[in-house]
């Protein structure tokens, strides 16, 4: 904490007081922003983590099934079958804003074809793998939405937190100290002034006059 290096004058006092008032208002607003972001983040983070865990399970089983399909069909046939698939989910991304943070909102349209590859030279294992990945894909828009929201909210929250702390622990105390310093300096000067006046009043005002009296 350190006081600002400015001369203690009345006009400076007024200015600093005004700035302090402004800083306090800013602090209040940022503090509210922090609260809103925190509650939003907690809400989203919970869902995101849950979905991420579920997604992990889904994907690890999907990979497992894909591995089995490869064992049965061979890598080459698998890639051939994959080449035949050309229709898929289309996503539409909109955004909503919370306290200036834009959060995505994703809508998925359409879906992959039920039976994209020829049945002749593929196996049931491939169908299973395809179904497993389809389930993964179904959850993807929501996962993307949640995960991205968490990242952005957390980033913004940290930024806000830093600002709130800077105001609360550095800026405002500095200004308060400066205000106190200027006030005491001005009061001191006033007392000096009063004392000087008193002294002048008690002293014989005109030496020549007092001599003649």
């Amino acid at each position: 904490m350190s006081r600002l290096d400015i001369p203690p004058t009345r006009s400076n006092l007024l200015q600093i007081r005004q700035e302090l008032q402004f800083a306090r208002e800013g602090y209040e607003i940022l503090d509210k922003k922090r609260e809103v972001l925190t509650s939003e983040l907690i809400r989203v983070a919970h869902d995101a983590e849950e979905l991420q865990t579920r997604m992990r399970d889904l994907m690890s089983s999907a990979y497992h099934i894909l591995g089995q399909a490869r064992l049965i069909m061979g890598q080459e046939n698998l890639e051939w079958a994959a080449l035949a698939v050309n229709k898929t989910v289309d996503v539409q991304i909109q955004s909503r804003s919370i306290m200036g943070v834009s959060l995505p909102r994703i809508k998925a349209r359409g879906e992959p074809p039920e039976m994209p590859y020829s049945l002749g030279n593929t196996t049931a294992a491939l169908d299973e793998a395809s179904a497993a990945f389809r389930e993964v894909l179904d959850n993807l828009p929501e996962l993307s939405e949640l995960v991205t929201s968490v990242w952005r909210l957390a980033g913004e929250l940290r930024k806000t937190q830093r600002r709130v702390n800077a105001l609360q622990y550095i800026f405002i105390p500095d200004y308060e100290e400066t205000v106190a310093f200027i006030e005491s300096a001005l009061e001191e000067r006033e007392r000096e002034e009063t004392f000087r006046l008193k002294l002048l009043k008690n002293r014989p005002s005109n030496p020549a006059q007092s001599e003649s009296a």
Binding site: F133, R134, L140, V147, W151
Partner: protein, 101 residues
């Protein structure tokens, strides 16, 4: 808009079964190349990147995830990945709020 996969060949193959296009990439140069292409295209809405390659360019990843609006960058697991003790998501939240949720 479309979804795009970048990273582990297995993930790329798996997602191609449901019609999601992908770009297999394992080295840093390949990923940056694939990512640049994806970012240049206006039609890509979500980019899925496998966990094994996100470690290669964490700085850029963080910037992309927090920055711009589109495309969204999402991490997905690879066949090898195990359940981590603490996901990067949880870590991020913990850093931001100061408590674990």
């Amino acid at each position: 808009m479309k979804i795009l996969v970048i990273g582990h060949p297995e993930a790329v193959l798996g997602f191609s079964l449901v019609g999601v296009h992908g770009q297999a990439a394992t080295s840093e140069a390949e990923i940056n190349q694939a990512l640049d292409d994806a970012l240049a295209s206006a039609d890509v809405g979500i980019i899925l990147i496998t966990e094994d390659v996100t470690r290669l360019f964490e700085a850029r990843m963080g910037k992309l995830q927090k920055g711009g609006t589109i495309p969204l960058i999402v991490e997905i697991p690879t066949p090898q990945s195990k359940h981590p003790e603490q996901s990067s998501l949880g870590e991020m939240v913990r850093q931001a709020i100061g408590v674990k949720v």
